[in-house]
């Protein structure tokens, strides 16, 4: 017999460790979904936001439908994770954001004890005309580096829509992270992607984020801040493709390598198809900026404290 309440207790306490406030899951005014392993522990729809879900053998399926024009001040809370040392969690999700709606999602993914855990996520996102969606996902991992995290996200943003994505994985050691996100933008649509990752131990990190600026006047930003230490490796592929006229795109990638054994690679790709598109990029890979460190040292910090301060700021 599966003990739902013990499991709920475990996942929400992991959620709190990663900085979340678990009381949101008993708040009937907020939409929320809690999935631990392949068990749906809580699911709450509210007027205007419907969550349809079902358990599968290896995880869950969820469909989140936000009605047109809905403006929700408090975010939709999502909590995923695997509590035991071993396990698999596959989440298939769909997000339908109706025309003119404005909604934000706060997702936490916790794997506090992982030794051999796989977390696969396949998401399809449709942001309707003039709608705004913000999705912020924070990961919480134990120190053993025993997780494979593979999010696959396909986003379509209709005319005048906005999609903002923030991905943070800075606590613990993940193991392997392979994130792939593709966004296709309609006319005057905007897409802002931001990823912050701290790789430790033997972590292997790969981020591939692509924005297709298809509609005229659409704009996209791919921003990443990665720090790799010990023997961690990172590879960041940021792409913007200017298919439509007057589109603007920017790739901003900063990777900090700490120590002799960590490695980082940045591959920004800009492709102009329409001649009025304007795409730019800045990529910096290397150690922490010397001037920043020396500035803090001139205020009395040791070099180690200064580097930590700079890194903490970057990953915030």
């Amino acid at each position: 017999m599966f003990d739902y309440s013990a499991e709920f207790e475990a996942i929400t306490s992991a959620y709190e460790q990663s900085g979340g406030d678990a009381s949101v899951f008993s708040d009937k005014e907020s939409a929320s979904l809690v999935v631990s392993g392949n068990k749906i522990l809580a699911s709450n729809s509210i007027p205007g936001i419907k969550i349809e879900d079902e358990e599968t053998e290896t995880g869950a399926r969820a469909r989140v439908i936000v009605e047109p024009g809905i403006q929700i001040a408090s975010p939709v809370h999502l909590c995923f994770g695997v509590i035991p040392k071993e396990g698999l969690q596959e989440i298939f999700s769909e997000f339908e954001i109706g025309e003119g709606a404005n909604v934000s999602f706060v997702a936490h993914c916790s794997f506090p004890n992982a030794l051999r855990v796989r977390h696969l996520m396949e998401a399809k996102v449709n942001v309707g005309q003039g709608a705004k969606m913000t999705y912020s996902e924070t990961h919480f991992h134990g120190q053993k580096g025993g997780t494979v995290v593979m999010p696959r996200t396909e986003v379509k943003v209709a005319t005048g829509g906005l999609f903002c994505n923030q991905f943070r994985l800075v606590t613990g050691s993940v193991g392997r992270l392979d994130l792939d996100l593709t966004a296709e933008l309609g006319e005057k649509a905007v897409c802002d992607l931001e990823a912050k990752v701290y790789g430790k131990r033997e972590d292997k990190i790969r981020l591939k984020e692509s924005i297709y600026l298809n509609g005229a006047w659409s704009r996209g930003l791919v921003k990443s801040r990665i720090v790799v230490s010990e023997r961690a490796q990172s590879e960041v592929l940021g792409e913007v493709i200017g298919n439509g006229p007057h589109t603007r795109g920017h790739v901003d990638c900063l990777e900090i390598v700490q120590g002799n054994e960590a490695q980082a690679k940045a591959v920004p790709l800009l492709q102009v198809v329409d001649e009025t598109a304007k795409l730019t990029h800045e990529a910096a890979v290397g150690s922490v900026d010397k001037k920043q460190v020396q500035t803090l040292m001139a205020r009395g910090l040791t070099e180690t404290e200064a580097v930590e301060t700079v890194v903490r700021g970057l990953l915030r």
Partner: protein
């Protein structure tokens, strides 16, 4: 307090500092005037002990201690600090955090809010802002000055604290520098503004990494005006001016 004895520094075989001698006493504001590229910032970095700015010869005595071979953080711990000509920007670091990092040597720290007020920035507006690219040049310079204040340094090296500051606020910046000195800090004040140099107790004119003259700020400003303003040989001082200290 600070004694600089015959310091030299070369970059790729090119002499940048050419035997600088200078003495600055406790609570003294010492102005440094000089055209672009004459070595003012380099002198500032050498005094602070930044990496890559080790003198080829000469000595720096601070208090009664020879600090010539002390690294940056040891000098900071002795109460020396530097406000950069173009201060660094930090992602994700708030003004409050930045100002709180300053370690005072002898207790009695100043709160971030008080330091901001002194440089003319409203704490309610700025305490929660980030010290990143979004700050204007002048705002960033003032925050740099505020962080020097927060440290209550024994020696403040200010590299053009007035550049990028609007004319109306210049008086305020000058007042801050005066208050630093009144609190017992010695100040090396690098500036291009004659008006600002005049708050110094003494001043020196720098050319080609040499000090051509040390005197009252009025005299040095006059000297600078007469000899350097339309100087056809910046960084190649006329023979008769060298050694005219």
């Amino acid at each position: 307090m600070l004694q600089i004895e015959n310091i030299h520094l070369n970059f790729n075989g090119n002499p940048i500092l050419n035997g600088i001698n200078l003495q600055i006493s406790k609570g003294e504001i010492h102005g440094i005037l000089g055209a672009n590229g004459t070595g003012k910032s380099t002198l500032a970095y050498v005094l602070m002990g930044l990496e890559g700015y080790r003198t080829t010869s000469g000595r720096i005595i601070f208090g009664n201690e020879d600090i010539t071979s002390l690294p940056l953080s040891d000098r900071a711990r002795r109460g020396i600090t530097l406000a950069w000509q173009e201060p660094a920007r930090f992602e994700g670091l708030t003004v409050t955090e930045y100002l709180s990092l300053s370690r005072t040597k002898g207790g009695g720290s100043l709160s971030p809010g008080v330091c901001l007020e002194q440089v003319g920035l409203s704490p309610s507006v700025y305490l929660n802002r980030l010290v990143d690219q979004a700050l204007s040049g002048g705002e960033r310079k003032r925050i740099e000055l505020a962080s020097v204040l927060a440290m209550r340094p024994k020696l403040a090296i200010l590299d053009e604290p007035d550049s990028g500051i609007d004319a109306l606020s210049l008086d305020q910046v000058m007042e801050v520098i005066r208050s630093l000195a009144k609190g017992g800090s010695s100040v090396v004040l690098i500036t291009h503004h004659e008006q600002v140099a005049l708050i110094a107790d003494r001043a020196s004119s720098l050319c080609a990494g040499m000090i051509l003259k040390t005197a009252s700020p009025e005299e040095v400003a006059r000297f600078f005006r007469n000899h350097c303003r339309e100087c056809p040989h910046i960084n190649r001082p006329e023979e008769e001016l060298i050694g005219n200290v």
